[in-house]
């Protein structure tokens, strides 16, 4: 055991830089607020604690002694004290809540920015998990600003009460102290078990929720197959497993609440017996007796509340760790200066949303395999889809494949700077919530002074080039129709054509399209081929179509046919049709 420990220590200390903790970052951000809140909250807590003591003394010296003046003055003083305490409390409460809300917002926006930033590392986590870290974990971790301003003053108040009791009578103080120690021990013993049960319940519940989400996502498939009843059975199984875990957790949390009640109840009994005996001995006055038992009762409630804090803390630090781990996976940190709220909420995308007019020629697109000069529309037909994927990876800068725009190399590091000149439309269509006009304007150059009043000529042209003019007829409010997230209210063909129109509207000097017409029918494909090529055929525009659709190949100026990673043939579609392998590949 002994000789293994240095090795273990070396192993754990080897990671070079410590990763900044999230809770630490939160506390550091608000250290000034905390420095203000903590003393004031302690005062407010102390005032509350003073109440049973003052009340006890008031009963003794005012009520029992029949001193009306003292009673009235005492009552007035007590109420004044309470009003003061509550005012202080409200003030500190609002301050700490602001800190909590701010942190929730900051972590959430920071994580969103980090996930979407192209410079971050790519993470392979389900979107749902990222969402839950950015929402529920960010919320829970931020609760630290809620917890500290409550736990610290409460603990101090409990300790203060113990000191008061000890000052009245040493034995009382000792009894209270012993009670607190037992309480801490009990909490320490039950917290890990409780946390484990709670975690188990949460993970089973999350599993059930994920199953539910999954089934709703696959609803069309389930309904298509008519297997709703089986899906129902699947979910019921999950739900029952989650219920079993929840029932176990219910027993344990009941037990723990009972245990803490038992400890505090015993403490109360001990304090009452001790204090009564000491008063009978004449060591304490009746007023102090009343003050002491009132105080003990008050502390009981407080301890009961505090007993939940460790479980809270455990959940909080787990959440904070999950937030930190996501940052680490992305290659970022919680304190990244690029990811502050100021930066993320004010900066615009680099190409500039406003004021950027139409861009001129960029010098064409150049790959080791082929070049597309300005003014050209070139089609690339690959026998093996893997070759097409390699070309797409190279031009979109996911790998350094020796591609260039003009003289500028497209590399994973530099691709961001090229986005103004180069647009590679992904094959998998993703549409975001917004009107049809907003979809098309995603990256379109600014149209006149005001997009609302300007005419829609640019949009009409884009729709025409994408063979999507029929959408204006079909969609109830034309350009103002709201397209739901992921185009949920459209068919596959409509989605693909809107994405194509969006790419055309962007009017990028270099445009690369990957299988843009796989979801449309033959007639529409033919129309698209002609209109698209016509729209892109301009001297300062270069276009690469990676496709095997004959209509597009036919319309292109030149077709490059690639097989086994090499160019096998090049020329116009009609000429290449004499080439047997080519014919075989583009045949349907």
């Amino acid at each position: 055991m002994l000789d293994s420990s240095p090795a273990a220590a070396a192993a754990t200390s080897s990671p070079a830089r410590p990763v900044p903790g999230v809770l630490r970052s939160i506390v550091r951000t608000h250290r000034r607020t905390l420095a203000l809140i903590l003393p004031l909250a302690t005062v407010s807590e102390g005032v509350e604690m003073l109440m049973p003591i003052v009340l006890g003394l008031l009963i003794d010296h005012g009520i029992l002694a029949g001193d009306l003046r003292l009673t009235v003055l005492g009552a007035a003083g007590l109420i004044l004290l309470r009003v003061l305490g509550v005012l202080l409390w409200v003030w500190t409460f609002l301050l700490s809540q602001k800190a909590v809300m701010y942190e929730r917002h900051r972590l959430r926006v920071g994580l969103t920015g980090a996930v979407l930033d192209p410079r971050s590392r790519t993470v392979r986590r389900p979107a749902g998990e990222v969402l839950s870290i950015a929402t529920s974990d960010a919320d829970k971790a931020s609760d630290v600003m809620d917890m500290i301003p409550w736990v610290v003053p409460s603990t101090l108040a409990v300790l203060g009460a113990t000191v008061y009791l000890a000052a009245m009578d040493l034995w009382l103080g000792l009894a209270m102290g012993l009670g607190i120690v037992v309480m801490v021990v009990v909490i320490r013993v039950i917290t890990p078990t409780l946390s484990a049960r709670y975690d188990d319940q949460q993970s089973q519940a999350a599993e059930a929720a994920a199953t539910a989400t999954d089934l709703v996502h696959g609803l069309r498939v389930l309904q298509g197959l008519g297997v709703q009843s089986r899906a129902r059975a699947t979910y019921r199984r999950r739900s029952r497993i989650a219920l079993d875990a929840a029932l176990v957790n219910a027993r344990y949390s009941g037990l723990s609440s009972g245990l803490t009640t038992l400890v505090t109840g015993t403490m109360l009994a001990a304090v009452v017996i001790l204090a009564s005996l000491r008063t009978l001995d004449g060591a304490l006055t009746l007023g102090v007796l009343i003050a002491v038992v009132g105080l003990a009762r008050y502390v009981m409630g407080m301890l009961q509340g505090l007993s939940g804090a460790p479980v809270w803390w455990a959940g909080m630090s787990t959440s904070a760790r999950r937030v930190r781990d996501l940052y680490t996976d992305l290659g970022r940190t919680v304190d990244d200066p690029e990811l502050t709220l100021d930066v993320l909420t004010t900066q615009r995308d680099e190409r500039g949303s406003r004021g950027t007019g139409r861009r001129g020629a960029a010098g064409g697109l150049h790959l080791p395999l082929l070049s597309v000069a300005d003014g050209e529309v070139v089609a690339l037909a690959c026998a093996d889809p893997a070759d097409a994927a390699d070309v797409i990876d190279a031009v979109s800068g996911r790998v350094d494949g020796g591609a260039r725009v003009g003289e500028v190399a497209i590399t994973p590091e530099d691709r961001l700077g090229l986005r103004a000149d180069l647009l590679v439309e992904p094959h998998v269509v993703d549409l975001f919530d917004g009107t049809l006009r907003e979809q098309l304007a995603t990256r379109a150059p600014e149209q006149g002074p005001s997009p609302e009043t300007g005419d829609d000529g640019w949009a009409d042209a884009a729709l025409h080039a994408a063979g999507a003019e029929d959408l204006l007829r079909i969609l109830p409010e034309g350009y103002d129709t709201r397209i739901l997230d992921r185009g949920a209210n459209l068919s596959g063909g409509q989605r693909q054509r809107i994405a194509l129109a969006r790419a055309v509207a962007a009017d990028a000097p270099v445009l690369v399209l990957h299988d843009p017409t796989t979801a449309v029918d033959a007639v529409t494909e033919q129309n698209i081929a002609e209109a698209l090529v016509a729209a892109r055929h301009r001297t300062d525009r270069a276009t690469l179509l990676v496709t095997r659709a004959p209509a597009l190949l036919q319309a292109a100026d030149r077709v490059v046919f690639v097989r086994d990673g090499r160019i096998t043939a090049e020329g116009e579609h009609t000429d290449l049709m004499g080439h047997e392998t080519y014919r075989e590949v583009v045949r349907r």
């Binding site: 009963i59 129902r232 739900s239 219910a250 609440s257 509340g305 993320l344 998998v428 990256r443 349907r588």
Partner: protein
């Protein structure tokens, strides 16, 4: 006045300004009408009572134990008061010991009852919740596809996941805690009132003040919470869609725009939440009034009673201890009010789905006799346009399809192919006309029989969470590995399945191995093969893949379709060509029908399509 603080937001900023130029966020927040129903407070209450009645035995036991625990807790201050009396009267230490032991005994009893009560409340809540979440999924699974298209699935998703989660968290801690505290407050107030009629008077004065304050608070916070909930939903949706669409986000360089969209909604939610916190602080200030009033009255009443000799000092002590005992749970209740409210909102959303959406029931008992399909004067329309006319998507149509026939639907986008396919599959109920499968009218047929009889595969693929085996077994729960492999082989998927790390045991779906679109579609076809329906509708099931993948899928689809009545909505005319009959559609009507050769010979729409296609 001054620059915004470093670590803070401008909490008084109007929401209008926060939303700024983000039109999407503004639209999302303005969208008040959620299409899935939400239950009113009365309906929620009736529903919960009905569910409690179902568990009446454990509900009654829980109630008794909880009341017992609260009574034990309320006895303590009286015992303490008695101890003070013993001391004031100069009693013996034996009396003190006996009272002390009684306090201990009651404390132990209280602990036991509280522990049991907590567990029972939580368990009861969890049982009711489990039943509810299963009912919500039940209804969600039967929601018509059209409803989902209009609402997006966001609302349904938040019901089955978020709302269940919120409610479950509440049941864990909040509900047992609040119910116990609630009874404690009630019984403590009762205990006080029993000390003296004067204190009863005091209780009668302060209780209405508490009720008033709570009503004031809940009225104001309700609408704020509702808006916050909408902002949170939109925020989640924005983040999810940006993550799903990362390739597009990066290609178009809109990562800042998408981040800002989430930020705007997040800030809106934060500002709304802070408004609630301001209301909380005003509530606390307001409640200070009855609290201090009670304090003053206890002191005043105590003075008079003790001075007139009407009551011993122990009574005043007991009253004071009651007060001290009361303030803390009252605060706890207030602190949890917001969570209560959010749990109640979630409850209303779940109950809304359960009570307002009828579970799917068999409209009748007819069972399809064979694999034929017959449409009689079937037509369909969606909604209405500005002039109040129906938006016709399918004009009246009569159609007869023989068992085993393969029919292909061809036409431009928007011609009504998918609508007709869905109507024939029985997943869409047409506005007018009758659909018969094997002589059974779908409007009066046995639901499960029809579901087994006809399947539709669309281009929306989904790979379910879990292992590959579990995914396939959705279609055939008892199928052996041998059968599963045969089905996979039929769709040419066995080669890649065997290459997966754990074969059929490989985790797929959201958490596991990512399958390509083509593989997912093969899986969908394998499911159909296992489900083995007599009627198969393929709605562009082979579309949206590069043409090499398309060819594999085309072969797989034809293989799976063998021996079944098959309707194929085709983009590729190669699929139409092999069909027994081709229906050419335009503007919601069938304009031509016949075999490939007949239609080409006729020289109509189809012939023109074919010409364009064949190049």
């Amino acid at each position: 006045m001054s620059a915004p603080q470093k670590a803070g937001l401008d909490w008084d900023r109007p929401l209008e300004e926060v939303l700024g130029e983000d039109a999407t966020a503004r639209r999302q927040l303005a969208e008040h009408a959620q299409l899935l129903p939400i239950a009113g407070p009365g309906a929620s209450m009736r529903f919960m009572l009905a569910r409690l009645r179902e568990h009446w035995l454990s509900a009654t036991a829980t109630l008794l134990i909880t009341v017992g625990g609260a009574v034990a807790a309320a006895i303590l201050p009286r015992l303490i008061g008695s101890a003070v009396d013993v001391v004031a009267d100069g009693g013996s230490s034996a009396e003190v010991w006996s009272l002390g032991l009684r306090i201990l005994g009651v404390g132990v009893l209280q602990a036991v009852l509280m522990a049991a009560g907590w567990s029972m409340i939580s368990a009861l809540g969890q049982r009711i919740l489990a039943g509810m979440r299963e009912d919500v999924i039940d209804r969600a699974l039967d929601l018509p596809a059209q409803t989902m298209e209009r609402t997006g699935i966001g609302d349904a998703l938040s019901r089955v996941a978020d709302d269940v989660d919120v409610a479950a968290r509440a049941v864990n801690n909040l509900v047992p805690n609040l119910i116990q505290l609630g009874f404690l407050v009630l019984i403590t107030l009762g205990g006080m009132a029993m000390l003296s009629p004067w204190l009863l008077l005091m209780v009668m004065i302060i209780v209405p003040m508490y009720v008033l304050a709570a009503t004031w608070y809940l009225r104001r916070t309700g609408p704020i919470y509702r808006r916050e909930r909408i902002a949170m939903g939109a925020r989640a949706q924005g983040l999810l869609s940006a993550i799903h669409g990362i390739p597009t986000v990066h290609a178009y360089g809109i990562e800042r725009r998408e981040t800002r969209h989430v930020a705007v909604l997040s800030e809106t939610a934060a500002l709304l939440n802070m408004r609630v916190m301001h209301l909380v602080s005003r509530l606390v200030l307001g409640l200070n009034v009855p609290e201090n009033l009670a304090l003053a009255m206890v002191i005043g009443v105590g003075f008079v009673l003790v001075q007139t000799g009407a009551a011993p000092v122990g009574l005043v002590t007991a009253a004071a201890v009651y007060l001290v005992t009361l303030f803390w749970p009252m605060m706890a209740v207030i602190f949890n009010l917001d969570e209560v409210q959010s749990a109640l909102a979630s409850l209303a959303r779940m109950v809304g789905v359960i009570t307002s959406i009828d579970p799917a029931v068999s409209p009748g008992t007819e069972v399809p006799r064979d694999a034929s399909i017959r449409l009689e004067q079937v037509s369909h329309a969606y909604g209405e346009d500005e002039d109040g006319n129906e938006r016709i998507v399918l004009r009246p149509l009569d159609l007869e399809i023989a068992p085993g026939e393969t029919v292909s639907l061809v036409g431009a986008s928007g011609a009504g192919k998918s609508t007709l396919a869905a109507i024939m599959a029985g997943t869409l109920v047409p506005r007018h006309g009758r659909v018969l499968h094997g002589g059974a009218d779908l409007a009066s047929a046995d639901l499960e029989a029809v579901r087994r009889h006809a399947s539709i595969v669309s281009q929306d693929v989904h790979v379910f969470r879990g292992t590959l085996r579990e995914d396939l077994q959705l279609a055939a729960p008892d199928a052996s590995d041998e059968l599963l492999r045969v089905a996979l082989a039929r769709v040419e998927a066995l080669t890649w399945v065997d290459r997966l790390p754990q074969g059929l045991d490989t985790e797929v779906g959201e958490k596991g191995e990512r399958l390509t679109a083509e593989q997912s579609q093969q899986l969908a076809l394998a499911r159909v093969s296992l489900q083995d329906p007599a009627v198969l509708i393929l709605d562009e099931a082979t579309a949206d893949e590069g043409s090499s993948g398309a060819r594999v899928l085309e072969r797989a689809a034809l293989e799976v379709a063998r021996g079944r009545t098959t309707i194929i909505v085709a983009h590729r005319l190669s699929q139409a060509k092999v069909a027994d009959r081709i229906l050419v559609m335009a503007d919601g009507a069938v304009v031509e029908q016949g075999t490939h050769d007949e239609l080409v010979a006729r020289g109509g729409d189809y012939a023109r399509l074919w010409e364009a296609w064949a190049g």
